[in-house]
Amino acid sequence: MIWVDTIAQGILLGGLYALFAAGLSLVFGIMRLVNLAHGDLIVMGAYLILVLVTFLGLPPFLAVLIAMPIMFALGWSLQKFILNRTLGNDVLPPLLVTFGLSIILQNVLLESFSADSQRLPTDVLTTASIDVGPISLGVMPLLAFASAIFVIVGLNQLFYKTSLGRAFRATSDDPVTASLMGIKPANIFATATGIAMIVVIIASLYLGLRSNFDPNIGPARLIYAFEAVIIGGLGSLWGTLLGGVIIGVAQTVGAAINPEWQILTGHLAFLSVLLFRPRGLFPRAND
């Protein structure tokens, strides 16, 4: 039974990784931009929630709702005023600029909040668990997993059922022809990054509730997010969820065998997918 429990915990952990990855997948899917500061933005979001919780005395779940428009505005401006300037035929400028942004964010957080690890306050609900047959599942991981599904369903609806989603896909296909449709690609990209930041703040919430965080843990979250996106296949959101689950299960199974192996087995799972399915499990047809 311990294995059933381990795998169940791994699947739920995968939900958290999918949340880390969904924003990255969204931005990459629309503008082929790899945002190396994605993990640090998640950590920054956790501090933003912490500030709202501390100074306004709000519960984290309410603070995240207030943080959403702030994060959208931040993402919109970041894309419009900085990242749009790096887009072009050369893949290097966006990598360099977001790498620099990552360093800046880490150091600003370090200056502002010190290196002490922090945690969002938990209450009875967030530490509760539910018994399902022989295993016991935490309410918090269940909420994280449900949120991941909610986010992915929501993003898919946005992409395939709305006029904005059509504009996202058209701009992703061909920004020049999209401009002939009256679409302003620079604004579409800004909106996409704004939406990605809303997903980021949801990821921040569960990051901060689940474990401690400090200014330097962003890059490791970025790696998990990357691996989830690539395992799933670039641009496929459901693939990203599956990718997150594969890494989550690999990590918990590894940890069950030997606690030192947790991180290692996650990366090994990623490497074996790369070896056998280099384009991921659900690659997009036209890439």
């Binding site: 059509r166 896909r169 058209a170 296909d173 061909d174 002939l180 449709m181 009256g182």
Partner: protein
């Protein structure tokens, strides 16, 4: 007053000059054709009018508005839609979605909407849910024209709409032109097929090496004149 005109239009790709002072005018409810060999500047002219290529403000005017330095999305909002060379459908979008996205920057209550576009090109109704990449070349061209019509443009720019299509398909596509004009659009048609251009246009401009070398109504232009303007050699 002209609906759309260019005046001493110059265009550059970096250091390379592609247009050397092109003047064309398009009146309300008029169809003009631009003919010329490859590299004569026809597509550059279309790109300049649609805003894909930036120019000086006064070089392109829509009515009295100077739009030479406007971006493509803004010009489209005025009612200038383009059927780009090579169709340029969005592969991630279905046929219907390709049509719908034509209204993104300009929502109107005009004649053209999904139903009327499907009446114009009935085959598209059957294929509405297919990915645009699965259609034949002629059908893709119909989607590209329909997509531009969806915004009920006042000026429709058609860049080489017969390129790579079988003659019978080209005939089918040109059959749509009277209906497009009747719904209130003026057209600028870029065409390599001189016969087709002469048959459909009210006036013809012939271009060579970035300049207009000849213009007039189809009736007043002789074969020899066009030949000279086209190739720059005495026939």
């Amino acid at each position: 007053m002209a609906l759309l005109q260019t005046e001493n239009l110059l265009a550059f790709y970096g250091d390379f000059q592609a247009l050397f002072g092109v003047d064309i005018t398009l009146a309300e409810a008029e169809i003009i054709a631009i003919i010329g060999a490859n590299g004569s500047g026809k597509t550059t002219l279309m790109r300049s009018i649609s805003g894909l290529l930036g120019n000086f403000s006064n070089m392109v005017r829509f009515g009295t508005i100077p739009i030479g330095d406007w971006s493509a999305d803004k010009i489209m909002g005025l009612g200038v839609a383009m059927v780009p060379e090579g169709r340029k459908l969005f592969p991630s979008l279905s046929v219907e979605e390709n049509l719908l996205i034509g209204t993104y920057g300009r929502k109107t209550n005009g004649y053209w909407k999904l139903d009327t576009v499907f009446e114009l090109f009935p085959i598209l109704r059957e294929r509405r849910n297919n990915p645009s990449t699965t259609l034949s070349g002629g059908q893709q061209q119909m989607v590209a024209i329909g997509r531009a019509l969806m915004s009920n443009p006042r000026v429709l720019l058609c860049d080489e709409i017969s390129l790579g299509l079988a003659p019978i398909v080209v005939k089918d596509i040109y059959k749509a032109v009277p209906a497009i004009k009747a719904a209130g659009a003026s057209l600028i048609i870029v065409e390599q097929d001189i016969g087709q251009a002469m048959a459909v246009a009210d006036r013809v401009y012939c271009m060579m090496e970035g300049r207009v070398t000849l213009s007039g109504t189809p009736n007043n232009l002789s074969r020899a004149e066009i030949h000279n303007a086209y190739f720059g050699a005495v026939a």
